[in-house]
Amino acid sequence: MNSSIVVEDLHFAYNKGEEVLKGISLVFDRRSTAIIGQNGAGKTTFAKLLKGLLKPDSGSISIKGIDTKNTTAAGLSRHIGLIFQNPNDQIFKSNVLDEVMFGPLNIMKEEKRARDLALGALEKVGLVNELEQNPYDLTLSQRKLIAIASVLAMDTEIVIFDEPTIAQDHRGKEMIKGIIRELVGMGKLVLTIMHDMDFVAETFERTIVFSQGQVALDGSTREVFTQEELLKKAGLERPHVTRLGAKLGCSHTFLTAEEFVSFAKKSDHRGG
């Protein structure tokens, strides 16, 4: 299969002698994928490399057959969208609609179509009533949603979310979950960096654990959350429901509350 992202033996350092990524090799497919790991593990750095904002020191990254070394971030922008961890790094226009239209306008130069894409994206994140607002008069959670809308409006084949649920309440998280599922359903390649283990367990098929610049674990989300010791070493914890199951002495690795409830109801039945 022609994978859209192939990373081979990727090395990167911001400062000489302090390597941040120490030989990452990964192939991404259409499974919805989470990247988890300790603060400073190199997740954001990795995302910026994929997006072409940073260049590898050695090794290679190929995005849809294009080596990121031989192109600019601008050249990649129609293929890959990145929602920044800190929305303030991404947002620079003084009104919401202009901000979200900027990307599409830049690639297609067609005002009407760009506007439609922007409005569609703002609709998805529930901000269509804030078009004329200055993003800096909005709250952090809303700015994060603007950042998401800006990337959705680009309609790229690859979408990377860097901690999309920062500052979101329960409803916001559910909305973002829905957006991710929809993008995956459309056949896009979606990568999500995240510290919320419950969200990861409920949403992603594949989970990759970064630890100190290397891939410590990579597998189906259930397999990964079975590895209690390795996760602990990587600064992580298992989802709440997984821990509940384990504490109750159950060998099954639960990923969602629903799974647990239906299992408990069945076992209750058997018990009489």
Binding site: G37, Q38, N39, L140, D169, H170, L244, A264, K265
Partner: protein, 280 residues
Amino acid sequence: MKKIIVDNLKYRYPSAQELALKGISLEIEKGQFIGVIGPNGAGKSTLCQALVGLVPHFYHGAYGGSVVVGGLEVLKSEISALALKVGLVFQNPFTQVTGAKLTVYDEVAFGLENMGLDRAEMIERIDRALTLLDIYRYKDRNPFDLSGGQMQRLAIASIIAMKPQIIVLDEPTSQLDPQGSEEVFRAVDKLKSEGMTLVMVEHKIEKIAEYADKVALLSGGELVDFDRPIRVFSRPDLERFGVAAPVYTRICRDLKIKDEKTGLYPITLEGAVAAVGSLE
């Protein structure tokens, strides 16, 4: 002893039409840890800013009622005087970091500079705070070259080093890895046992259920409830205010398993384990 007294606090931002806070009243005892929960736009951050005086002194706008923190009436006190009593960890660490200092170490020192501490005391506080948040090894780094989570750790360390009587934390663990979040809650617990008063806005409901003495539930600028976690999380109408109960509570509710002693659904892992008993 009351450390925080909020009396019928009303506030509207200058650019807004609606009140962000619509008459909030609550009192917080010394040495308590209060969790603040509620949906986006409920007024949580605004309340935090009101406790440290940024509302109204920095944001201006329309203000009514009163806030007294550590014996100071906020409306009549200078922000600098308030800062010695109460510290705020901002929701976005990038806005908190001053940009005035070139290293992580000096950033923490910055907050201590006007406190009249001797040099040895300053060094000891900085080292301790950086170690507590596990960022000591980045002490010579430019703050803006930290990862998001490391920056958030720095924001927390800067405030803890000042050792105010009261610390207000606005979603301080939103970018922390799971063990880092747990460590922050443990640190809060320890500071509390040393007599500090802490107020924390958090969406990590399971942690609030485990650690907080009381929970303030805000919605639409109003204080819906202010009670022990078990009480607040047992409200059947919780979801209506945009908050999901802890996953343990939701599971036990679906299974109709209550805690025998309290007659309520458990809110913590330990509680759920005890109530469910065993599987298979």
